[in-house]
């Protein structure tokens, strides 16, 4: 596939110049998916008929001169977004037969923008996981090394973009689920401020943490996608009523004089030395671009993991109580009574990790334990947020690693849930605080991509995109493509 046709900006130019039609480029991607999906397993559903139908409609709109920025551009969506008339499984057996009866707001916006949907991507079941090994539809391979994990939970989206089976994809991020797979697959991804992108129709995991966002090949492409995804939605009760800026306007701004903070706690023990080498080289690039590098402290960082696993599990146990085998989804055979129906439908439908989290959450919310777990976690959450508020009085953005190590081998951490949870050590604090964060490729270690994380203050997605874009103007890590055999 020629380089220019893989990015959103490249496809936009090609479509506008009439170099190819949306049907042609869509067919190219469908062919490529056909070639590689068996080995990568990044798609749960390939919507080829719909894609070609949407592409045809897009070509007519383009011919009539009414194209919007994403008209005719193929995209893939994480299978957590409800898509009207199309299977929406959340990678769970309990939703294996679920044909969503409505579109998520994000999907509705992409449809209105004239984008083409190639399919629904694989993920960790109900977005619970950091390796995409918790999927009912099997694990996803990392395109850089098929034996390694792509990260999770948006592992299918990240792998599909890295393998160029789609120009870009949507994801969701509850504790790092956009940034961590983006880092491990060598692509760019942004998790916006909590409340920036509508959660309506996005199957809920931890409602106070979940946020949708794009995974793409560059900051520039992320800006284009976020432009369509962001915005107030009255159907999401936690959506924030604030105007959406033009995310592309600030991309080319000079970053000279911007203060970038390095949190001491994120460079401490536990960070792989070779990953640290890559991050330090990126810091030097930022220095060369004129940024001022400042040391900062986020003293409560160490609490992020326990706080996150209490809050997210508590919220998931509540959210997932809706899967009861009564109105939709899997129902067990021959239930003897209603309780048997609930219990067997749920136990047959949920995978092990989902059950563990439901159990932890149920326990944390049960009578006598609420104060010790959930309330305590919500108090600590405020302290974590205050650390960031204080940091942002001194710096414009924060820079740190995304993950402590490169993508691990499949099966390496599946026996020990706690060791898997520690993968999220650098990503979850900002979900707890509700801040925006971005992951961009910054180099390689042992032939595997390493991601760089940028964290901004509330609603400063433009600044993150600007910092990422400026870095991508002087480096070519984001242009590296895995050689797949």
């Amino acid at each position: 596939m020629p380089a220019m046709t893989t990015t959103i900006t490249g496809i936009q130019r090609g479509l506008a110049a009439g170099q190819f039609s949306s049907v042609e480029i869509t067919q190219d991607y469908l062919t490529r998916i056909g070639l590689f999906n068996d080995s990568i397993n990044c798609f749960i559903t390939i919507t080829d008929d719909l894609a070609l139908q949407q592409a045809k409609a897009a070509d007519a709109i383009i011919a009539a001169g009414n194209a919007q920025p994403l008209t005719g551009v193929p995209l893939a969506h994480k299978d957590i977004y409800c898509t009207d008339g199309i299977k929406t499984s959340c990678a769970s057996k309990i939703l294996d037969n679920f044909i969503a009866p409505y579109d998520a707001t994000v999907i509705e916006k992409f449809n209105q923008a004239g984008a083409v949907m190639l399919g629904k991507t694989n993920m960790d079941e109900f977005a619970m996981g950091s390796s995409n090994e918790n999927s009912y539809y099997g694990p996803v391979a990392n395109p850089w090394d098929f034996e390694r994990v792509p990260g999770g939970s948006s592992g299918g989206s990240a792998a599909a973009v890295a393998a160029r089976l789609t120009p870009a994809a949507t994801g969701t991020d509850t504790g790092g689920s956009i940034r961590q797979p983006a880092a491990l697959c060598g692509i760019s991804g942004i998790k916006p401020t909590y409340g920036r992108v509508s959660r309506y129709g996005m199957i809920a995991f931890g409602s106070s943490l979940d946020q949708g966002g794009p995974l793409a090949q560059s900051a520039e492409d992320c800006a284009i996608l976020l432009q369509t995804m962001a915005g107030f939605d009255p159907r999401d009760s936690t959506s924030i009523e604030q105007p959406v800026p033009d995310y592309s306007v600030q991309l080319n701004q000079d970053i000279k004089g911007l203060k970038i903070g390095l949190p001491e706690e994120y460079f401490a023990e536990g960070l792989d030395a070779d990953v640290a080498r890559v991050i330090n080289a990126a810091i030097e690039e930022y220095r060369k671009l004129g940024a001022e590098i400042v040391d900062i402290k986020l003293p409560n960082s160490g609490l992020s993991i326990p706080v996150y696993y209490v809050v997210s599990s508590a919220e998931c146990s509540s959210n997932l109580s809706r899967f009861d085998g009564v109105r939709f989804g899997h129902r067990c055979d021959n239930p003897v009574d209603l309780e048997d129906l609930y219990k067997r439908s749920r136990s047959e439908g949920f995978g092990d990790e989902v059950k563990r989290r439901i159990m932890i959450g149920t326990y944390a919310l049960s009578a006598g334990y609420y104060d010790a777990y959930y309330l305590k976690a919500q108090q600590l959450r405020r302290l974590i947020k205050q650390d960031y508020e204080k940091a942002f009085t001194a710096v414009d953005a924060i820079l740190c690693p995304v993950t402590p190590e490169i993508a691990f081998k499949q099966g390496d951490k599946t026996d020990d849930p706690v060791s898997m949870y520690l993968q999220d050590i650098y990503t979850i604090a900002l979900n707890l605080a509700g801040l925006p964060g971005m992951s961009i490729p910054a180099g390689f270690s042992q032939g595997m991509p390493v991601g760089l994380q940028l964290i901004g203050n509330y609603f400063e997605e433009s600044r993150l995109l600007n910092l990422a874009h400026q870095y991508q103007q002087v480096t070519d890590w984001h242009l590296q493509v895995p050689e797949m055999k």
Binding site: N97, F98, P101, Y194, G195, S208, P234, S237, T238, I240, L303, I305, P306, V307, Y309, V310, S317, S321, V326, R327, F328, G329, H330, P335, V336, D337, L338, E339, D340, L341, Y342, K343, R344, R346, S347, K355, R356, I358, M359, I360, T362, Y363, S366, Y373, K376, A377, Q378, Q379, L380, R381, R382, L383, K385, P417, V418, Y421, A433, G434, L435, Y458
Partner: protein, 95 residues
């Protein structure tokens, strides 16, 4: 906090999950490890800290009490496991 098999049984009952006896021990061990992780929270005194409910301290939005949705019963029930006469059917609850 170390969970016993009996604790796991109780939690599973609250969560409406059915557990095979053979898996209870593994769950007890996994859940105890996760709770041990959670107990790191006790290292910090939070007696004067207000719990955080929303990152931006937003409050629940209200709207006028008007009908904004149309009736889509048939569409929604088309994906249900068992319906009859417009109702969702489950095993008999009251004798």
């Amino acid at each position: 906090m170390t969970l016993k098999i009996e604790d796991v049984r109780n939690i599973a009952q609250l969560a409406r999950l059915q557990m095979d006896d053979s898996s209870l021990e593994q769950y007890a061990s996994d859940l105890s490890n996760i709770l041990a992780l959670a107990e790191q929270m006790n290292a910090v005194d939070t007696s004067n800290v207000t719990p955080m409910a929303h990152p931006l301290d937003a409050t629940q939005r209200l709207r006028a009490d008007e009908v904004t949705e149309s009736d889509q019963r048939e569409k929604f029930q088309a994906i249900a496991p068992d319906v009859a006469k417009g109702f969702y059917r489950v095993p008999k609850v009251i004798d």
